[in-house]
């Protein structure tokens, strides 16, 4: 059994107690302690900035051309916080409860409670940085609803909340760069961890422009490299999002937890053809106002506008009257898949459902007409006013939809379908966010900690910033306080040389294959296996097949991949090859984990384990644990369990009816 080092005491005082008793590092010593941060998304940038402010010597790495590009930037809808500004009954406890329940009781209570506790501070911090959140006319902050909750606790900046939060963290980071506390390494990719005497002591990074390998020492290393949704090839992740940093940590002894917990987001723009390179999310916030439906008749080929109201099936409202269109993502996704599989899908591919704003436009139009004291206005006038209101709320999303599909969503309902969006699994970390390798930490989406088997909307931004601003800066001191006597280790230490030559060999191996097929060829094949057999629904036979198929694909990859160009130059194909090689190992582990977890929970749906109504059926007796996998070699993993103890929340069958 793994020990998560959760402090003793009542749940709501654990974090206070921890902070009051953890070890501290004095300012003079902080100057001599070096910390490496991999990734500059919300978690990485906020951690690097905060650690720099505290006086540590920080080195931050990102593969993009600027830290501001990390994929947190694409988060649309918002960030949750238990501020209760709306006076609608929100509290730290309720945010904690919603998150544990939303995660289908597979998250660690103590972590989630801490997350809820610091959520308010995040909003304060971001506002102080100048993040332009949406406001009401009185000048105070505005909130909206998100899935899986019945209060309005989501703070937002139009449909670009992630961008604004990341730019806030980025500006804090750049300020520390200017002050000399943080050194920024853009266009660098971490390719291995250096361990000395069992502790993480540095990394090997490749300068992506020159191809040179570099050695960097750190007293601690933070993996903040995001999720691994790109294992599916098609996902809402950025093209460069990858698992490599986390996978190198895994190969160096950090356990990988719950890899099969993948979030399939219900509202994405459907695939339009084989050329598709990525999928685009339509924010969950759209489900505040949009209504989801399919025709009641099978294979109905009429245009949406020709289908009368009584022949439409608003299946979410029908099945889940209490939460309606705002059920959690896993539930909404499966419901869409169920309808499409049953033959009620729409569009040319029949793999889509409608997200309709007609009712919302009319409703907002009437409200607006009332507000402006306009009486006896025509329906056209009301619709015009309503469109203006909807444009103000969701304009950028509607524009994006129009650009991608060539259709006008103000006139015809959007077509949407679920797509891979987020990965709840990740590096196993204890309460202090430390992995099983001392000195190696993981923050944000890269770790597994707070979302259980399903993440609620607007909680990823919250977790990334909580980890980086308010959790790790405390917990890392507890480790580094014992490291103050360790002088910076020169990078000619044999451990660095060994790690570098390992990386060099790996690159040489990839370059020497000189096969016939592009990296993308393999990536797409892997994606298809994963989507078909380890996607929205999984079963034993499919998973077993997937494992064999992935093994075969991996062997083929190492025989037949073609990487043009040279290793000592800017070579995007080589970068991709390294990442896909890691995905080819991770994909297998995901299937192994999914096979092992013979229950349905959250985003993990085992067809063998469902209720009569087709809802996910958990098996708390046998699977109320975190599955943390130790890497022994390709295809060789050992399972370690962390038992989940629920003191506050009693696991029940999740119901959104």
């Amino acid at each position: 059994m793994l020990n998560a080092k959760i402090p003793a005491g009542p749940l709501n005082t654990k974090w206070e107690d921890y902070k009051g008793h953890c070890k501290l590092v004095n300012p003079a010593n902080k100057r001599n302690l070096e910390i490496i941060v991999i990734g500059t998304g919300l978690a990485g940038a906020s951690a690097a900035a905060s650690l720099g402010e505290l006086g540590y010597k920080v080195k931050a790495f990102c593969f993009q051309d600027s830290p501001r590009r990390a994929h947190s930037i694409a988060a649309q809808g918002g960030i949750n916080a238990a501020k209760n500004y709306q006076n609608d009954g929100d509290s730290v406890y309720r945010l904690f409860y919603d998150t544990v329940k939303g995660g289908d009781y597979r998250a660690r209570e103590a972590n989630v409670h801490r997350l809820a506790e610091v959520s308010g501070n995040i909003i304060d911090q971001c506002v102080a940085q100048g993040v332009p959140f949406a406001r009401e006319y009185g000048g105070l902050l505005s909130n909206r609803s998100f899935g899986g909750t019945q209060v309005q606790r989501t703070f937002y900046a139009a449909g670009q909340t992630g961008q604004q939060l990341l730019l806030g963290a980025y500006s804090a980071l750049e300020r520390q760069v200017a002050l000399g506390n943080v050194t920024m390494y853009s266009r660098h990719e971490m390719l291995d961890i250096v361990k000395i005497d069992g502790k993480a002591r540095g990394i090997i990074a490749r300068n992506l422009i020159t191809g040179q390998l570099e050695r960097h020492f750190g007293h601690a290393v933070l993996i903040c490299s995001g999720g691994y949704g790109n294992v599916f090839f098609l996902s809402t992740n950025a093209m460069g999002s990858n698992v490599t940093a986390a996978w190198k940590a895994t190969q160096n002894g950090a356990y990988f937890a719950n890899p099969c917990f993948t979030q399939i987001h219900p509202t994405c723009i459907p695939v339009s053809g084989d050329h598709q390179s990525k999928l685009t999310l339509m924010s969950e916030s759209l489900r505040n106002d949009g209504r989801i439906w399919v025709p009641k008749k099978k294979d109905d080929n009429r245009k949406a506008s020709d289908i009368p109201e009584e022949e439409r099936d608003y299946y979410l409202e029908r099945r889940y009257p209490a939460f309606g269109n705002l059920v959690p993502r896993d539930v909404a996704s499966r419901a869409a898949k169920e309808r499409c599989d049953a033959g009620y899908g729409v569009g040319t591919s029949k793999q889509a459902v409608y997200l309709d704003f007609a009712a919302a436009i009319e409703r907002y139009g009437s409200i607006e007409a009332n507000k402006r004291q306009m009486h006896g206005v025509s329906k056209e006038e009301i619709i015009k006013l309503g469109k203006e209101v909807v444009a103000e709320k969701y304009g950028n999303l509607f524009d994006m939809y129009a650009k991608i599909t060539g259709e006008n969503p103000y006139e015809t309902p959007m077509r949407i379908y679920p797509a891979v969006h987020y990965t709840m699994g990740g590096l196993w970390v204890d309460y202090e966010l430390q992995t099983t390798v001392p000195g190696l930490y993981s923050l944000g989406e890269a770790n597994f900690s707070d979302h259980g088997a399903n993440r609620l909307g607007a909680s990823a931004l919250m977790q990334g910033l909580a980890d980086g601003y308010f959790v790790l800066p405390y917990t890392i001191g507890n480790y580094l306080a014992d490291e103050i006597r360790v002088k910076a280790i020169p990078t000619d230490h044999p451990a660095f040389a060994e790690a570098e030559s390992k990386v060099r060999d790996r690159i040489a191996k990839l370059m020497s294959i000189k096969g016939t097929k592009s990296v993308d060829f393999f990536h797409k094949k892997l994606g298809k296996i994963m989507w078909d057999k380890c996607g929205m629904a999984r079963n034993e036979q499919g998973l077993k097949e997937a494992i064999e198929e992935i093994k075969a694909l991996r062997a083929e990859f190492y025989k037949d991949v073609r990487i043009p160009g040279d290793e000592n130059e800017f070579n995007p194909e080589l970068e991709k090859a390294g990442r896909v090689a890691d995905f080819l190992e991770l994909g297998e582990l995901m299937c192994i984990d999914a096979l092992n977890r013979r229950e349905s929970c959250g985003g993990h749906f085992r067809e063998e384990s469902q209720t009569e109504e087709g809802e996910a059926k958990r098996d708390d007796e046998n699977f109320s644990y975190v599955a943390a996998w130790e890497y022994k070699g390709p295809s060789d993993y050992v399972l370690h369990k962390e038992e989940l103890v629920f003191e506050e929340v009693k696991p029940t069958q999740r119901s959104y009816k």
Partner: protein, 254 residues
């Protein structure tokens, strides 16, 4: 929307590295669907090049949903191509028709040196932000968020300025390679908000000084930046930057 396929001729800038002279290469893009994004068209061309044993075209891209600011191509004379308010990754092939010739160049500016093919170095933007594009507030220093009411109109204007994705299209589009729209977006965002007031003068002075140091040209108010900005950042921000800069220059004591 009617789907169609097309064959295109591409004239693409190829340059091995910073020190290479560079040249245009003519390529054929066959069977391109009108449903593809511009970058997916490049994926198809690259796949073809790899299959032929040639080096694919290097170009920057990441999120492919118009928000990370990484993609950057000068397409037929237009930064991010012919559609207004659109990044290259969101430009779709519907914008072109069968038989078209498309010339694709990297951002051209001394401050944005070409690294390879269509990839340029935009780190100058990071250094400008380092010069003052922030509010100096350490983690933990903040008061309750609702203690700072902000007039909605100003908050909206600040957001509109903050929507800048730092892609550099403004520089690429400007005949002077001026970075004024980029700098003004950040200065405006913080000048409009109460949180930005304590540092507003040093911010304007230092960011402009850094912008000049990086070798960007000056603004001659042609408006090309605004016309090409994928996030439609307004020229009023440049006016605001000018006001902030004048005010700071005339009133700071040092």
């Amino acid at each position: 929307m009617e789907h169609y396929n097309m064959n295109l001729t591409l004239k693409v800038w190829r340059q091995k590295n910073k020190n290479d002279q560079g040249r245009f290469e003519t390529l054929q893009a066959k069977n391109i669907s009108s449903e593809m994004s511009f970058l997916e068209m490049f994926d198809v061309v690259n796949e073809e090049l790899i299959n032929e044993g040639k080096e694919p075209i290097a170009f920057d891209h990441d999120c492919r949903e118009g928000i990370c600011g990484m993609c950057s191509m000068h397409i037929n004379g237009r930064a991010h191509g012919p559609w207004d308010g659109t990044t290259t990754c969101q430009l779709h092939m519907r914008a072109f028709k069968d038989g078209d010739t498309i010339t694709v160049e990297p951002w051209r500016a001394g401050a944005f040196p070409v690294l390879k093919d269509l990839t340029v170095d935009r780190s100058a933007f990071d250094r400008i932000i380092e010069a003052g594009g922030y509010v100096s507030v350490n983690t933990g220093n903040a008061q309750d968020a609702n203690n700072i009411p902000v007039e909605k109109h100003k908050a909206d204007l600040a957001f509109a300025a903050a929507a800048c994705i730092g892609c550099g299209a403004c520089v690429a589009a400007c005949k002077n390679s001026s970075a004024m729209l980029f700098v003004s977006a950040k200065v405006s965002q913080l000048a409009l908000l109460p949180q930005g007031q304590p540092e507003k003068r040093t911010r304007a002075l230092n960011m402009v000084a850094q912008m000049d140091k990086e070798g960007f040209g000056s603004c001659t108010n042609t408006g090309a930046c605004e016309a090409e900005c994928p996030k439609e950042i307004s020229l009023t921000n440049i006016a605001r930057l000018n006001r902030e800069f004048i005010n700071a220059g005339f009133t700071t004591e040092k």
